[in-house]
């Protein structure tokens, strides 16, 4: 798609976003620490935000930016509840790593 104001093509932003998203996804799968798994989810949400804002700019619509705002709000809620759950798990000494929580696994 031709760029209206800047010279950077949309594909460049989509590429950056895809690489960041994959980094976050691999991080979620690979890391064992609870808190860092949540941080990797934040990276994935940021990658999605780049996509939303880039498409909003190139398709000349405000909808993408508003969606990105709501994503940030949801991320704040997710961080608060997720960290509260982590505190409870640490306090009751169930586990310190993600792969130690396997009671529900059959």
């Amino acid at each position: 798609m031709d760029a209206p104001t800047s010279m950077i093509p949309l594909a460049a932003y989509v590429t950056v976003s895809a690489i960041l998203f994959m980094t976050g996804l691999v991080g979620v799968l690979v890391r064992r620490n609870f808190i860092i798994v949540l941080m990797c989810v934040e990276i994935m949400l940021n990658a999605a935000n780049i996509n939303l804002v880039a498409f909003s700019h190139y398709l000349e619509s405000m909808a993408g930016q508003l969606a990105a705002l709501f994503v940030i709000a949801i991320a704040a809620g997710e961080a608060a509840v997720g960290l509260a759950i982590i505190i409870v798990v640490f306090r009751t000494k169930i586990a310190t790593n993600v792969d130690q929580i396997n009671i529900l696994k059959w």
Partner: protein, 173 residues
């Protein structure tokens, strides 16, 4: 010039993202995540999204990341010897394969779509924040209210979950 800025923000955010995944000490990971967030905010400026740039720095870097750092300090995690999953190499190669496939698909895409009404010229005349505000409080008013209720629920849930158990609670169990 724009390419230079874009290259800087993109490269640093990707490198810092990889560092977030690979560093051992959780506090260092949090600082790498801060770098990612600030440079993604820079990408937002290049896309004419000033309001999101401010929100990204205030809410993400200022509030969410401080929350993460607080919990890290509170829990006093030890950085462990084995901080990766056992089969991490398999997962990393699977990730790289999926990324290659994704990029192959994305680069072949023609990226066509219906143009909206908010062209950059119109937006820059009144200011990006003005445009965001007008849209948020007209078309997206209901969603805005729902997000407010959602955040209230998240606050209550977090407080109830992380409450220190009193003697009465322990006895009831």
């Amino acid at each position: 010039m724009v390419w230079l800025l874009f290259g800087y923000f993109a490269a640093v955010s990707i490198v810092a993202g990889v560092l977030t995944v690979t560093l051992r000490n959780p506090v260092h990971c949090a600082l790498a995540l801060l770098t990612v967030l600030l440079h993604v905010a820079g990408l937002f400026v290049l896309l004419n999204a000033e309001f999101l740039f401010a929100v990204q720095i205030i809410v993400y870097a200022g509030a969410i990341l401080v929350l993460y750092l607080f919990v890290l300090m509170l829990l006093n995690l030890k950085s462990e010897e084995q901080y990766f999953h056992r089969h991490y190499l398999f997962l990393v190669f699977a990730g790289i394969g999926i990324l290659g496939e994704l990029l192959l698909l994305l680069w072949q895409s023609p990226y066509r779509g219906v143009r909206g009404t908010a062209s950059p010229k119109v937006v820059l005349e009144t200011g990006p924040s003005h445009a965001v505000g007008l849209t948020m409080f007209s078309d997206y008013l209901l969603l805005f209210e729902i997000v407010g209720v959602f955040l209230l629920g998240a606050i209550i849930g977090a407080i109830v979950l992380a409450k220190t158990p009193t003697a009465a609670d322990v006895k009831a169990e």
